[in-house]
Symmetry: D3
Subunit: 144 residues, 6 copies
């Protein structure tokens, strides 16, 4: 579905639109909010979804993907959340570090686990650059 | 310890020095190689260490840190290796993806686990940018 | 759908699995390959899909998302491919630069357009860091 | 031109210098500000230029490059601004996302176009990492 | 040393723990704080160390590494601080840009030096992407 | 100057064009090559310039900027090359690491200096992420 924006709504100097609260949301958007709240057992969705709601097709696709990807499988929920946090820390996304830090703790990450995760993330970001700078060729053993 | 390079060895157009094999290594470097081999139960260290050996103090400090950080603790070994792989994939370090992919598999990561890890890493890299671009402010609930 | 890997197939020192060709693919994977080939009017899918096919649920989800996102809409196809290329160049993904460079050219990007795209991408990566290093605060005009 | 800073102005614990307003600017800096204002049809330059003005040679070189690169050519202005925004979102530069989001909207980017741009940027950042992690080799077809 | 967190201290919805001031620190943490203050000739450690103190083993390892790496050697202190700042600007770490900008100025970086550093960092980030996008192969001369 | 590409030269499935050797270059491009060779005291330009030559305006602007930025000033040539290398290592640009490693060595970087540079670059990439993940707020002292 492509969002249709009436031309009289369009001004070319518009800043980023504000978040869409449940009470102001279209039925299509509310359906996604309801599914998020039901799946996560929460009363209101967080800001990420409220901003993404300006593009209902992206909101829907993103939520469906997250729901599928983050469900426990070969990896359990807390491991998945910790991987998500590790990526967010590596990329320096302040919002994501806050929200996924909370999600990981809710899923069972203790402060001891967090400390160890941070130590690994820090070290990996360091040795990635050592490998780059020393121009290390891949060992044949890793190729088969 | 600072490495002393005799001036007659220095030419200003030198390319990246080649790897240092065990047979050519100083006693200081061999001591580190021995510890890596003993700890990991392997016959030869991989290329990363052979290139890093050009700076024995960095070789030593990096190995001591890795040994400490990657030992099982609140997180087990395979979880730590998967986090390391997630960071390496995010940063696009070809050497690290190859070597840590192998290390994670050796520690117990199955292909099903790898597939799920990749799905999370991909999604996290996507939503990190959605959060950036939509300029999402941090929810108060994540601040306490 | 979660992929089930029979335990006798799992060895812990396995390297990255090889690509899955159409002739070796499961019906589920072939269905995705067929859709890609039909949509793009090509005889064989490229390597990206053949490697991703090891996780059929990620293969499917990724293709469905790409098909949706890259269809012409408010932005036409060549503009979308150029944005994809700009991101890939910024991230330094060699595979993606090659494949999306080809896709953009197929969609109508001329060499003159490519040259201008590269000039913008280079400049943006430069000024992003100038803004970081000079710690520039956001102008009030950009906040409304 | 190299900027000369009188020694009595230098204190070693100085923080990042404050922005240089038009009224406090040297003739050299004012000339650049005037050109920016004339070219962009605005009353005052934004913060980026006011901070960069501490290094007049960088201010001048950056503005001359931007003026050249962002002028419509094989790509029109709004396409160039959208590419700039895509890079800034990928890199997570908060200042740049705000200022180039405004510039893109001023050049004609509607909210529908923004939504599609964000969808492409998010997806590209995802598939770049999938290509990395699955270690996908470049197809021969992309090499000629 | 692994940090032991008593189970009654763990709640799963905990946000990032607050900084640990000297007065609240354990003897182990105070020992590190004392060494930092003595080495840097300062009265109180900065926020980075106060947050890292939640994981005393990471605090200790990080400080020991920094102390070793940043001591003058073949490169003097201000050069090392400027390299640290260049990396932090490239990565967009706001905290690090502020703290290492201050450290570099304290070590002797003048505003003229800062301006030139920023010009190099900006240009390097630009040409890194030009090399990526134009898919430039490494010259044989750089391989020997 | 905008490059005009005659329509009969354009095929939409074209791969990245090959490098432009001096013997095949237009007078405009040769003028830039000559200036690079004269400035750097070399017999032939490296691959980066030969690929960039497909867009003569970018070739010219990039060379003029590099010439200006990399000339010794408040920072000497070897310091500037080392900063360039530090950024290239951080970003993982293989071409740039090779070419700027050679340039830094030519400008006077010894292997001892390289080892220390790598130690700093590695550590900075690590602590940038520790600061991100621990969500460290900027100390007031760094704000004045």
């Amino acid at each position: 579905m492509r969002r249709h924006t009436p031309p009289d709504k369009e001004t070319h100097r518009m800043a980023t639109p504000p978040p869409i609260e449940y009470s102001d949301a279209s039925p299509e958007v509310r359906a996604v909010y309801d599914d998020i709240k039901r799946t996560r057992q929460i009363k209101d969705v967080n800001n990420f979804w409220k901003y993404l709601a300006h593009d209902p097709s992206t909101l829907k696709r993103t939520w469906e993907s997250i729901k599928d990807i983050m469900a426990p499988g070969a990896l359990d929920a807390v491991t998945k959340e910790m991987i998500y946090l590790a990526v967010s820390v590596t990329n320096g996304c302040g919002y994501c570090i806050a929200s996924h830090g909370a999600a990981a703790r809710k899923a069972g990450m203790t402060e001891a686990m967090f400390g160890e995760l941070m130590a690994v993330v820090g070290m990996a970001n360091e040795t990635n650059r050592l490998a780059n700078g020393y121009r290390v060729p891949i060992d044949p053993a890793f190729e088969k």
